[in-house]
Amino acid sequence: MIAANLPALQVVLPLAGAPICAILGRRWYGWLIATALCWATFAISVLLYVQVAENGPISYMLGNWMAPWGIEYRLDRIGALVLIIVSGIAAVSAPFAFHSVHAEIPEDQHRYFYTAFLLAMTGLLGMAITGDVFNLFVFLEISSLSSYALISLGRDRKALFASFQYLILGTIGATFIVIGIGLIYMMTGTLNMADLAVRLPAVAGNRVVDAGFVFILVGVAIKLAVFPLHLWLPNAYAYAPSVVSAFLAATATKVAAYMMFRFVFTVFGVEFSFDQMQLSWLLVPLALIAAVTGSLVAIFQDDLKRLLAYSSVAQIGYIVLGIGLATQDSVTAAVVHLFNHALMKGALFMALGAVMLRVGSVDINAIRGLGARMPLTMAAIVIGGLSLIGVPATVGFITKWYLVIAALETGWWEIAVIVLFSSLLAIIYVWRIVEAAYFSEPSETGATVTEAPWPMVASTWVLAAACLYFGLDTRLPVGAATEAARALLGGTP
């Protein structure tokens, strides 16, 4: 009974938890409720992943209304992997949040923070599990609205503006998506993804479908922060509370990328997207520009959260590049990078959260000399940084491996060169941090700090260790990604 209803529970659990958290979440109860729910949700996604890996895609009819009239939850490898990423990062963030939220957010707002956190998670999980495009839009809005709220809770007053900026752009993106959905609904009369995939080829070549595709693509690209639609991202990540930066950086863009996978490969199909609409010629150049300029701009950032945010723009470029090349290896690279990038950015933003807690700033000068004062936190930053560069034995290398092989196989050695060049730029910005942390005299506040509380260190290190572990034992991410890529390119959802 419960096993059969896991797909629904996956979303309902955090959704139902959110209001409970708002009502009962005084003092530290909010944290407790949120943590318990995050962990339960994570357990469910693991169970779901195992089911999908063993028995193939799961189809779940909400309220037993048959698709395509009712809402179908449909879970395949890539969806299950995204669920694991979202709920896993949430489960790791929860212990981290305790001290961090205490330090950065006024106490009377804690319960609302955890409420918004659960809602954001609900939205992200829902987007990954649903098989219905309108339902997808609804979950997108749930996650977006709650992220705006989360970002605006940042200590700095600029957080309000950052949140507002994101609100405007995010709303434009969501509106574009819903317009696009409307257009394809008009042409096909269905909202179910699998059904759309069957019906769309019959009406392909119609301008309305083309327009729908473009609206959806641009909308998703805004949420994914594809260059040049990334302008909201650096501010949002830089001014959000530390936990929020870590959670959103690791999950929100991943789910947005998942949306792109779904629409491009499943709903519209490889043939339409790449043969008819020539998507490669749009995505590949943008991805390459993102990979290079994102890294270049990151080099010149002094605010480390902003530095990481620009690095995210570059890393998202890799994902988009993988989608754009549309070969088995490149899509594998893109899906693997969803997972890998979540691990590294999660670890890095959490480590910065620990610095924020102890030193009160994440400026490059604030971390000077912290290598000796906060050895574990700084070591986690080094591991995350090496991963961003793509040094072997880290997860970043695995992505680069598949991506460059895909580029070489398609004969585009120039792409391979640009990808590797972007890694070289990563060396520069990562090493600015390393030099400051290990080979500079500490600042005045930095000289007296101690290591962060152990739950924060533990959370950071779970992800940092995962960066190393999954860099060598790649069966889970690469296995899932290879399967996912095969399914996506094969056209079956």
Binding site: L386, V391, P392, A393, W413, A416, I427, F439, T482
Partner: protein, 491 residues
């Protein structure tokens, strides 16, 4: 344990050792004991593999697949055996030397120093034993990263600047060129396993093979081929034992070793002779040999002079590999060994002088042979070996390299070797002559003998005598290397 198991454990022993050293950090004596024990154990393990390889065995182990088709795997072939023996053996005297040097110098962060040193050695063994290009690259990169804290050990602005050059060039070339070459090889050949016949024969056009060859050669920045040699002089800011073992032996030899591996097992000696992708390389190597020697002449800082000498000597090995004849390959392999013993001796001496007499500039070392006779005598032996004069080991490697050049009908490179030897004499011998025979008079003359601490003195005597012994007994190394060139007509 069987040889196969030893091969699987040996590269990871120093990694475990590094963990133990880190835990023992607060107690310096225990920590140093851990270093010595790890070094000793490592040498025993590596030496235990030697007989199998000498008999023509290729012990190996595949640990696991990282991605399908690409595994972390070790297989010991003669070249790797030789490199591992050198690195593991020299780590023992170097550890003793480190203890003397670091304590006499009152260096800080010694725990980080010893832990990183162990990591570096583990990586070097990993490079030596790698059974495929992926495993080699993995340890190659770990080696770059974990030697960085050793280079910037002092933490001064100069050290940081040098660290940037060091890591920038090493990571830059390896990710920018070498990784691209590796992935390209994989796409072309479908595998990265080292094979005696090479991977690329018949897989790509000659133009592609030539490009790949250039990518590999410039991508292996650790070989310090010009114009990517700047990191090596920059690395001299590190404590002297680091310069001695890592930047004269483990790191740089990992570079030239990788060059030889790529030439022999990725391109294959047949392909090297038929497709001839690297006709330009002997010339570039010769250019590096001569230019670096000239730069060495101009350096007054002893370590800087030694560093440029290393740049020059490394290109001997590249020259040997690029000529790709049976003698030149043997000569290149021998030079990995001979230069290691000679150059580590020289660095040990430089460090001993620094610790005892607090002198770093050559012009200040006039007459120092009277106060430090043993050290300077060892310096003489080391210098003779690097120059390639009997009765030192370096004689043999230059001999075979010259033979290789003749075998390739390229007399011009014999001339390069001879000129370089003359230049070596020009930049080493004045140091020794001035140290012993020029009396600075007055203040210096009557201070009596004041040698470095025993922990510094003994290792440098060991390696100097080792250099001498290698002249008398070069045969094991020679026999080992002959196995590689068997595919060619054995001379």
């Amino acid at each position: 344990m069987t040889a196969d198991q030893l091969v699987g454990y040996a590269p990871f022993l120093p990694f475990v050792g590094a963990g133990v050293i880190w835990l023992a950090g607060p107690r310096p004596n225990v920590r140093e004991a851990c270093t010595l024990i790890t070094a000793g154990l490592l040498f025993i393990m590596v030496a235990a593999i030697l007989p199998t390889v000498m008999d023509g065995g290729r012990p190996g182990v595949t640990l696991f697949d990282v991605v399908p088709g690409i595994s972390i795997a070790f297989e010991v072939e003669p070249l790797g055996m030789l490199f591992a023996m050198i690195a593991a053996f020299l780590w023992i005297p170097n550890s003793i030397y480190s203890i003397g040097y670091m304590r006499a110098h009152h260096e800080e962060n010694q725990t980080r120093y010893y832990a990183c040193f162990a990591l570096a050695l583990g990586s070097a063994i990993g490079v030596a034993f790698a059974a495929n290009m992926f495993t080699l690259f993995l340890f190659y990169e770990v080696l770059s990263v974990c030697t960085y804290p050793l280079v910037t050990h002092a933490g001064t602005p100069e050290a940081k600047r040098s660290g940037r050059i060091y890591l920038g060039i090493l990571l830059g070339t390896s990710i920018g060129f070498q990784l691209l070459a590796i992935l390209w090889t994989y796409v072309l050949a479908g595998t990265l396993d080292f094979r005696p016949e090479g991977l690329l024969a018949g897989r790509a056009s000659e133009a592609v093979i030539a490009i790949l060859f250039a990518l590999y050669i410039f991508g292996i920045g650790k070989a310090a081929l010009m114009p990517f040699h700047r990191w090596l002089p920059a690395a001299m800011v590190a404590p002297t034992p680091v310069s001695a073992l890592l930047h004269a032996v483990a790191v740089v030899k990992a570079g030239v070793f990788t060059v030889m591996k790529v030439v022999v097992y990725v391109f294959g000696l047949d392909l090297m002779q038929t497709a001839n992708p690297g006709t330009w390389l002997p010339w570039l190597a010769s250019f590096t040999i001569l230019t670096a020697s000239f730069i060495a002449l101009t350096k007054d800082n002893l370590k800087a002079r030694l560093a440029y000498s290393t740049v020059s000597q490394l290109s001997y090995i590249v020259l040997g590999a690029s000529l790709a004849t049976s003698w030149s390959i043997v000569g290149g392999g021998m030079h990995i060994l001979m230069h290691a013993f000679g150059k580590i001796t020289l660095f040990f001496c430089a460090g001993a002088i620094m610790v005892t007499a607090h002198k770093t500039e050559i012009s200040d070392m006039t007459g120092i042979g009277r106060t430090m006779p043993l050290t300077m005598f060892a310096f003489l032996l080391g210098a003779l070996s690097v120059i390639g004069l009997p009765p030192m080991g370096g004689t043999w490697s230059k001999w075979y390299l010259a033979m290789g050049a003749m075998q390739a009908d390229q007399i011009v490179f014999v001339v390069v070797l001879l000129i370089s030897s003359l230049l070596n004499i020009a930049y080493f011998m004045p140091i020794v002559v001035n140290a012993f025979f020029v009396d600075r008079g007055g203040s210096h003359a009557h201070t009596g003998i004041k040698e470095a601490p025993l922990a510094c003195l003994i290792p440098l005597l060991i390696t100097a005598i080792g250099s001498l012994l290698l002249f008398l007994f070069p045969d094991p190394a020679y026999q080992l290397l002959l196995q590689i060139v068997e595919p060619l007509t054995v001379p």
